[in-house]
């Protein structure tokens, strides 16, 4: 069965890029445009991987991360932050909140895929 990925970003372009790249490689991608919507979807169905932007309205990626890690079903799910921030605090904050990894935008589709393959291995 295809692995299911939740792609969270407030930018439609980014969501499209994530979906385009991943669905071509056989992943099933569900989009969410902010942390709150992502959380709703994550509660309603189960995902193998969450890719999330940090800076989003309503609920940020870090908040989403913290909320997800509190849920039994997302305790061990890989959650990768996809963001333009390369600031140290943000990174540390992300890691502390339970992020599995980090991808800096812009990235090559190949880069994204290799991260996804790795964390889902």
């Amino acid at each position: 069965m295809a692995k299911r990925v939740l792609a969270v970003d407030d930018s439609a372009t980014m969501r499209q890029l994530l979906k385009m790249t991943l669905s071509r490689s056989g992943y099933e991608v569900v989009e969410a445009e902010d942390g709150a919507k992502a959380l709703q979807k994550a509660l309603a169905e189960i995902f193998d991987l969450v890719l999330s932007d940090i800076n989003m309205p309503v609920m940020t990626g870090i908040e989403l991360l913290r909320s997800l890690r509190k849920l039994a079903q997302y305790k061990f799910t890989p959650i990768v932050l996809v963001t333009t921030e390369s600031q140290l605090e943000k990174k540390q904050e992300g890691k502390a909140a339970g992020a599995t990894g980090w991808i800096v935008k812009p990235f090559e589709p190949e880069q994204l895929l290799s991260v996804v393959t790795k964390v889902l291995r």
Partner: protein
């Protein structure tokens, strides 16, 4: 992974999103002007910019992303309450929005010259960004700032599989670079020693010295997500070490470091095939290490360096430089590096493991980080080639149809087969049209603007001018002229040589120009244009020009040509002497154009592309190189000829004309047969002889002659009959035949037969050099001496 369609779709989607964002941004900015302290609005502005930047970069709008980055920084500062929003700032930011809209229009095309508005906005926001040029103090607000920069030594040896984790080691190094002043040393030894190099693996390790105001934690954070499976060591360097940087100790280390650096270069050189030179360099580097060790009274370092030297000497004598040796030397070098570090500080961080399991880099990681979005279409070369072959063969196949129809007509003259033949002809015509269309389409994909090659030259000329201390302007014309990809890929080197030559030997020094009353600025014109199916590239300089007599003299002095040979040369032939290997017109050797090697690269390169070079020059006025290239290389026209009962084809592009001459006009002058054709005397070559066919038709009173325009000069090629013109697809020969220089390849004919294609360009020069002095031939003859020599020298 992402094809052109995807990218277009993504860009369209981004344009749409960006329009919305810019509209929102405009509204938010006006709100902010009313209510400068409203953090919600500030955040809204920041987020919009953040998205513009991130998504823009991802969709290929890098220029837009870079521009927004600066403005975003300003709002980041406002967000962190380091800055207050002011009406001026709002003003500038609104203009920035306009500018974004323009950059959005430009997309990934357009020149790199900043738009006037872009410059204006950046200038306007600069005061709000005290550190716009230096990203040094990014996180100053939250970190406890150190009072003085500290120096750290960071050892970073990524796991070999690091690329699979999606991490680009280069991006981590760049992150460190953002934190302060850095110095990077790359350990390539594992890469050099790798026996089965896997480009997907990382064989490199780095040592980074960084001087930063940031804390050690900040440095460590860079490696946050990789530290689990990479070797990362961060050491604060003795504060004294930097203070003592002027000490003798430091000098020793510096000297030793040079030894190691030189060893690195040397091993690179060994690896790239120049073992002898590489080992000589390594030998010297090891000696430098030993000397430094001795001078510093450092016995351990001296001994360790001696071992390195011994290993180098051993291989210099026995000459087996293999992976094992590299591994061994690598270990010795590492040990030496440790020894050098030994007395005062801790042992070296990382270089100590001989480490087949560990480190290092793979492909071109350092550049991989941000590849600029190329404005051109990327097409998989393999697919393209397959498509081309198909198109070519389809074109050939259609040639069979009319012949078939003819045969049907001949065999049965009844009504029904006749109409069948007609149908067949129609079908043939249709296939033909299709093939033409297909070919045209494919060709258009392969065609690329010469801009791709030309764009490197302004920089080249600028650098040359600086190195040579001359004033030179390069004027480029016709960059949009299109050429086949193969030609584009190969024409760079020859052009580089011509341009270097023009800058170095053509354009005079400042003083000479002044003295001759020429304008102070030398000028090189590089232009391209299409003429029929030919593309012409010209390099023209207004320098001192070529002196044919001097060229001839030099050629004779250097033993490249005989006195009598140069005597018969016309002016252009004399100019072309500079294209002969081993020739140099200057007495002094300059660093720029080397020692006369180089210009023969031009001839070889152009010949390989089936092109021609013409040189015009006037003393004191300048020189013009004109390269004529076939715009495409796919299907070529050829003439079928019969010779000794066999059929071969002659490429049409070398044939000046085809004539019949009475055999009686052929005369033999000292072993060379010559004949006048339309007023000019040409040397004659019997194709049958040249191809070593036994049977030569001697009885004929009239000879069929193709006048061939070879690079070495024109000649007449005598064949038995001309059989007509065909379109052929030339395939290179394989195996034994590949080594036969008389043929360039095989052509597949319409009826499926394979016929050999004669290398008319070289055929004449492949024959023994004529025994007669060229001077005895009629004027207008360009003797093929240089090429004949080359052929004799064993090509």
């Amino acid at each position: 992974m992402m094809d052109f369609g995807d990218l277009q779709q993504l860009q369209a989607s981004f344009r749409h999103e960006a329009d919305d964002l810019l509209t929102d941004l405009g509204g938010a900015l006006l709100l902010l002007e009313q209510d400068p302290h409203n953090m919600d609005v500030v955040n809204r502005v920041f987020r919009a910019m953040h998205t513009l930047k991130g998504s823009g970069a991802s969709a290929g709008f890098r220029r837009l992303a870079n521009f927004v980055h600066h403005v975003e920084e300003v709002f980041n500062r406002i967000r962190n309450q380091q800055l207050q929003s002011t009406p001026e700032l709002i003003d500038a930011t609104l203009k920035a929005c306009d500018c974004c809209a323009m950059l959005l229009e430009l997309g990934s095309t357009g020149s790199d010259t900043p738009l006037p508005l872009e410059t204006e906005v950046l200038a306007a926001i600069r005061p709000f960004l005290p550190e716009m040029d230096k990203a040094a103090g990014k996180a100053q607000a939250t970190k406890t700032p150190a009072t003085a920069p500290a120096r750290y030594k960071i050892g970073f040896r990524p796991n070999r599989e690091i690329f699979f984790s999606g991490t680009d080691p280069a991006s981590l190094l760049l992150e460190i670079a953002d934190l302060g002043e850095i110095e990077i040393r790359c350990d390539t030894v594992d890469l050099l020693a790798a026996r089965d190099f896997d480009p997907e693996k990382c064989y490199l390790g780095w040592e980074v010295f960084v001087e930063t105001m940031q804390s050690e934690d900040a440095l460590r954070a860079v490696f946050l997500f990789v530290e689990d499976d990479c070797d990362v060591s961060i050491e604060k360097q003795e504060p004294a070490a930097s203070a003592r940087s002027d000490s003798k100790e430091a000098r020793f280390r510096g000297a030793a470091q040079q030894g190691f650096t030189a060893l690195g270069f040397a091993l690179d050189q060994c690896q790239s095939g120049d073992e002898k030179q590489g080992l000589a360099t390594a030998h010297r580097a090891a000696q430098t290490l030993i000397s430094a060790g001795k001078a510093h009274g450092h016995a351990r370092a001296t001994a360790a360096a001696q071992e390195v030297l011994d290993a180098i000497k051993a291989v210099q004598q026995d000459g087996i430089l293999d992976g094992d040796w590299l591994l061994k030397v690598k270990a010795l070098i590492a040990a030496a590096s440790q020894a050098v570090d030994s007395p005062t500080t801790e042992p070296a961080v990382s270089t100590s493991q001989p480490a087949p399991s560990r480190p290092a880099e793979g492909s071109s990681a350092p550049e991989a980080a941000i590849g600029a979005a190329a404005p051109s279409i990327r097409v998989d070369a393999v697919k393209l080639d397959a498509l081309m072959r198909l198109a070519g063969e389809l074109l050939v196949a259609r040639g069979a149809l009319p012949a078939f129809a003819e045969r049907v007509e001949l065999i049965a003259r009844e009504e029904s087969p006749k109409s069948m033949a007609k149908e067949m002809r129609d079908a043939g015509a249709k296939v033909s049209r299709l093939a033409d269309d297909l070919q045209a389409t494919v060709m258009s994909i392969r065609m690329m603007p010469v801009r791709q090659v030309f764009q490197r030259f302004p920089r080249l000329v600028r650098d040359l001018a600086r190195n040579l201390d001359k004033n030179i302007e390069l004027h480029v014309n016709g960059e949009e002229t299109e050429l086949d990809k193969t030609v584009i890929d190969s024409i760079g080197d020859p052009l580089t040589h011509i341009i270097r030559n023009a800058a170095d030997h053509g354009i005079e020094s400042k003083a000479d120009r002044a003295q001759k009353g020429k304008s102070a600025v030398g000028r090189i014109d590089l232009s391209a244009y299409t003429r029929g199916s030919t593309v012409v590239i010209e390099v023209k300089d207004d320098g001192k020009g070529l002196d044919p007599d001097k060229l001839k003299r030099r050629a004779v002095e250097k033993g490249l040509l005989s006195e009598s040979a140069v005597g018969a040369m016309d002016e252009e032939a004399a100019f072309k002497i500079i294209l002969v290997a081993g020739f140099s017109t200057v007495d002094k050797v300059t660093d720029v154009s080397g020692r006369g090697v180089g210009m023969d690269v031009v001839r070889n390169g152009v010949e390989a592309l089936h092109g021609a070079i013409h040189i015009k020059s006037e003393i004191g006025k300048g020189t013009r190189f004109r390269i004529e290239l076939p715009a495409s290389l796919l299907v070529s026209k050829a003439i079928r000829v019969a010779v000794s009962g066999q059929e071969v084809v002659l490429p049409i592009d070398t044939i000046r004309n085809m004539v019949k001459i009475p055999k009686s006009v052929v005369r033999t002058v000292q072993g060379q047969q010559i004949a006048p054709v339309r007023g000019t005397v040409f040397p004659m070559l019997w194709l049958a002889h040249a191809l070593s066919f036994d049977r030569v038709e001697e009885r004929r009173a009239e000879l069929a002659v193709a006048i061939i325009e070879a690079a070495s000069g024109p000649y007449g090629l005598v064949v038995d009959h001309f059989l007509g013109e065909v379109e052929i697809v030339v395939k290179p020969l394989n195996g034994v035949l590949a080594k036969v220089p008389e043929y360039v390849g095989a052509a597949i004919m319409g009826d499926g037969r394979t016929v050999l294609v004669v290398n008319t360009d070289r055929l004449f020069s492949l024959q023994r050099p004529p025994a007669i002095p060229q001077a005895e031939l009629a004027p207008g003859l360009r003797p093929p001496i240089p090429l004949a020599r080359a052929a004799a020298a064993g090509r």
